[in-house]
């Protein structure tokens, strides 16, 4: 446990065992969208909960010229619009008094030297012992340069007992393929030890994602049935109702495979398929997840055509309103071959999952926003009841968002003289079962973890690279195909017909969400 916990007996018994250390948080891209929408509102809520460190400062840094006051105004607007709790003047003033801004170019070492001098002055005044967290909310192409400048300006400490810590947070995407991910990781590793690097996938900060492990390993009834002997297949869906919106610039170069499958879906797959960990320490959890990735059957060449469907939405109707097709969206190349939908069948080639298909799908402009993991068990060996009934196999659905919760489908007897089966659903919803309780936003959880030095919910280098190593061959096949092989689907539907055929060919079907 952390130093402060050992030396502060008053901490014992308070809700969180994590003790955030006094620190400065330097946000590169500090006046950007992520900072305004997520980071500053998250800090405000941590302050309200009394979980921010006692000595704390936020420093925004980017090229845009702003002064401290203007930056505080930017932060106030973010909190007003996006915080889960409305700002009140007293608390806002307290956070605002700890917010500062420095403008500068990432290529300008002088700007980093000035940043250091400014930070040291603030840290001295606010009694922050030199602990620093650098949040890189910037485009990936700037990361290498930014990290080097941090090093040259003397802003980074190597990890050592008794010395102030330096930690760095990197937003997804970490690279756009294996080579670029390695380059990026190498550039981080030149300056930071792996123990100082926090790669964020905000999905892992969600309560319901964390609940996957609790559900699997905190209940005796599921784990004995969680293997190829009993499970027929697993479906993981991350559906978005929105189109590309204002993100065309990024999305054109990414596509659904890199934007969703490489990170969010891969994380859900790992948590669903991993072996029971012997402890909940970061290293153990990371190792067990990595094992799943190493067992993923590679998809390359002809297997891509057989097991992967890519699609792109065309003009259609969403909630009764006509919406443009992807290639009609602002900022999108009219001849774009970028996929907005992916469905795939994958296998985890180990003892537990031998022969069990995992059907994965994600896409934009689908009928609704919904993320879930659905486990479908095999049918009973022999059905001896009246065949007029409906005999659906058992299914467990873990709903990640929205309407977080889980449901279990079981067969029951319809009332009447005959033994007719009918599927019924046992439903658990966080919102109703636990009543009105405000859960922290993912970024609150994750920022607090970084301040406390807790790495479980972040991605380790080897996992990121293993993910790209698995993804790259699929992209290589698509690159050779261009637009051929890209299936269009009308906006507001569940994807192209080819996706339905992917599961129907195996005698299965996608779930209705």
């Amino acid at each position: 446990m952390l130093e402060a916990t050992q030396s502060n007996p008053l901490v014992s018994g308070l809700t969180s065992n994590l003790v955030p250390q006094p620190c400065s948080l330097v946000i590169f891209g500090g006046a950007g969208d992520l900072a305004g929408r997520k980071l500053i509102p998250a800090l405000y809520n941590l302050l309200l909960d009394g979980t921010l460190p006692t000595s704390f400062a936020v420093m925004g840094f980017e090229r845009r010229p702003l002064n401290d006051e203007a930056y505080r105004e930017f932060g106030r607007e973010g909190v007003t619009r996006f915080s889960r709790r409305a700002p009140d003047d007293n608390h806002w003033r307290e956070l605002a008094g700890r917010m500062f801004y420095a403008s500068g170019d990432f290529a300008d070492l002088g700007a980093f030297a000035a940043l250091k001098a400014r930070l040291e002055g603030i840290e001295s005044r606010l009694q922050i012992p030199g602990n620093r967290i650098f949040y890189l909310a910037i485009p990936p192409r700037l990361i290498g340069e930014c990290v080097q400048q941090l090093q040259r300006a003397g802003l980074v400490n190597q990890p050592a007992p008794g010395k102030p810590f330096s930690r760095i947070i990197v937003e997804k995407p970490v690279g756009s393929d294996l080579a670029s991910a390695r380059r990026l990781n190498d550039s981080l590793a030149e300056v930071f030890d792996e123990s100082q690097i926090y790669r964020i996938d905000h999905y892992l900060g969600k309560e319901t994602v964390q609940n996957i492990l609790v559900m699997r390993f905190g209940n005796a009834i599921f784990e004995p049935l969680w293997n190829e002997k009993y499970i027929d297949h697993i479906q993981i869906t991350v559906a978005e109702e929105e189109g590309v919106g204002t993100r065309a610039g990024y999305y054109e170069g990414a596509g659904a495979l890199r934007d969703m499958v490489q990170n969010h879906i891969m994380q859900l797959l790992c948590l669903t398929a991993m072996e029971p960990p012997y402890s909940m320490t970061p290293e153990v959890i990371h190792d067990h997840k990595l094992e799943v990735q190493r067992c993923l059957r590679p998809l390359a060449g002809e297997a891509v055509e057989r097991c992967v469907v890519r699609g792109q939405y065309r003009r259609g109707y969403a909630m009764g309103i006509e919406v443009p097709g992807y290639r009609e969206e602002t900022g999108v190349d009219p001849h774009s071959a970028t996929e907005t939908f992916v469905a795939m069948k994958v296998f985890v080639d180990n003892w537990r999952w031998a022969g069990v298909p995992f059907y994965l799908r994600t896409g934009k402009r689908l009928p609704k926003r919904a993320s879930e993991i659905a486990v479908q068990w095999k049918q009973v060996p022999r059905l001896m009841f009246d065949q007029a009934g409906v005999a659906e196999p058992n299914a467990l659905a873990l709903r990640i968002q929205p309407d977080e919760g889980m449901s279990l489908r079981i067969s029951t007897k319809l009332p009447g003289p005959r033994s007719r089966l009918f599927p019924v659903k046992m439903d658990f919803r966080y919102g109703t079962t636990f009543g009105e309780q405000a859960s922290p936003e993912a970024y609150e959880t994750l920022l607090l973890d970084v301040m406390a030095g807790e790495q479980t919910l972040f991605m380790r280098r080897d996992a990121v690279e293993a993910s790209w190593a698995w993804i790259d061959p699929i992209r290589a096949v698509w690159a050779g195909q261009g637009r051929s092989g890209l299936n269009e689907y009308p906006a507001g539907t569940w994807g192209p017909a080819a996706a339905a055929r992917l599961s129907e060919a195996d005698g299965r079907r996608w779930r209705t969400l």
């Binding site: 008053l10 250390q21 909960d49 009394g50 006692t54 309407d403 439903d427 079962t433 009543g435």
Partner: protein, 378 residues
């Protein structure tokens, strides 16, 4: 949305609840969803009608946060035969799902209350007893023992106690017994922001040496917040290994203790302020010794927040949000918290030692600061 209680015979409560449920279920066919939600059984013991009326006002907020089957037991020596009434409480969640909670009121003589409640408890979920009267739970005698025997946790609120010293001694003795799973004092929950800010504001990283060298603690509190002050002092003593060696009633508004710390003696004072919010702690001032003198930190309630300031600017002031939650909100937060809180048990043990120290120094052994108020005012 809730229906008025429907009188039923005690033996027909389940049938009557099912009958109330059916129309709601039928309505569910045209609604997005309907859930008969129940995280816990909640038994509420009320010693009179006035108390029961106050409890009924709190219940909608409680079950909105923690859906539960609520059994409200009203101790009525004249109620023979026993009487029952059932009702449902309906609320909608963010997704339009209707949640239905069941409420049963049982009015009977004390001797028969347990036998009425026992068959109405739902299986497979925890049971909590909310001991609503303003007296130490063990003072409830046989009835309390029987009710607590059905529960996984006992919740009470020491803020209303008329004789905090005697009640603290009785409660601490009961709660520290190993067979008691969870005892929860809502006053302890009210202290959470204070504990959080004290732990942060005195953290060695912020003010090195403060915790190890504390020499004096002074708590100023409202007229009805002595039990909270007492608990906070007990908490500090428990966490910092202070042993009470003496206690004294210094005046009608001040108590003091001498404690033996690992390094040096510690003086503790609880002072009642007539002008402060009657249910709140107002200020905690701590002083610690340094090589050259002493330093001071002051933790103060200001409206909806707590603020720490340091007299010699050894550290920056800071604050945390500390809204004053209603009793219903505190209760709803406590209900799912079924783990035995060892820090609280240790705190109670120290608070009991401090109470005994005061009793030893108070020859007349009169009740200290009888509030003179009955019922709940928050």
């Amino acid at each position: 949305m809730s229906a008025a209680p429907t009188p039923v015979k005690p033996g027909e409560v389940e049938t009557a609840l099912a009958a109330l449920w059916r129309p709601a279920q039928a309505q569910g066919t045209v609604m997005p969803g309907l859930t008969r939600a129940c995280m816990s059984n909640l038994i509420v013991y009320c010693d009179n009608d006035e108390r029961a009326a106050a409890v009924m006002e709190d219940l909608p907020q409680v079950v909105r946060s923690h859906p539960a089957r609520v059994l409200t037991l009203i101790d009525d020596p004249t109620a023979a035969p026993a009487q029952a009434a059932v009702s449902t409480q309906r609320v909608s969640d963010d997704h339009g799902h209707q949640v239905v909670c069941e409420q049963v009121i049982l009015r009977a003589r004390a001797i028969s209350l347990c036998s009425l409640a026992r068959p109405l408890l739902l299986g497979d979920i925890p049971t909590s007893l909310w001991w609503a009267p303003p007296m130490a739970p063990p003072d409830g005698g046989r009835l309390f023992v029987d009710l607590a025997g059905m529960a996984d946790q006992v919740i009470y609120d020491s803020i209303d106690w008329h004789d905090p010293v005697a009640a603290m001694i009785a409660t601490a003795g009961w709660a520290s017994r190993p067979e008691i799973l969870t005892a929860a004092d809502l006053a302890w929950r009210r202290l959470k922001p204070w504990r959080r800010l004290l732990s942060q504001g005195l953290d060695p990283a912020v003010v090195p040496g403060a915790l190890a060298n504390l020499a004096e603690v002074e708590i100023e509190h409202g007229p009805h917040a002595l039990p909270q002050a007492w608990l906070l002092m007990g908490w500090l003593a428990g966490r910092l290994n202070w042993q009470p060696v003496g206690g004294q009633v210094r005046s009608d508004h001040e108590l003091s203790w001498e404690l033996r710390g690992p390094r040096a003696p510690v003086r503790a004072i609880a002072r009642r302020l007539a002008a402060a919010d009657e249910w709140q702690l107002r200020r905690v001032t701590v002083r610690w010794k340094t090589g050259t003198g002493s330093l001071e930190a002051s933790f103060t309630r200001e409206a909806q927040r707590l603020v720490v300031a340091y007299a010699q600017t050894v550290a920056q002031p800071r604050s945390i949000a500390a809204p004053s939650p209603s009793r219903a909100a505190l209760l709803a937060r406590q209900l799912p918290d079924l783990t035995r809180d060892e820090v609280f048990v240790t705190t109670l043990r120290l608070a009991r030692q401090m109470a005994l120290a005061v009793h030893a120094g108070d020859e007349q052994r009169k009740p200290i600061w009888v509030t003179g108020l009955k019922g709940d005012k928050r």
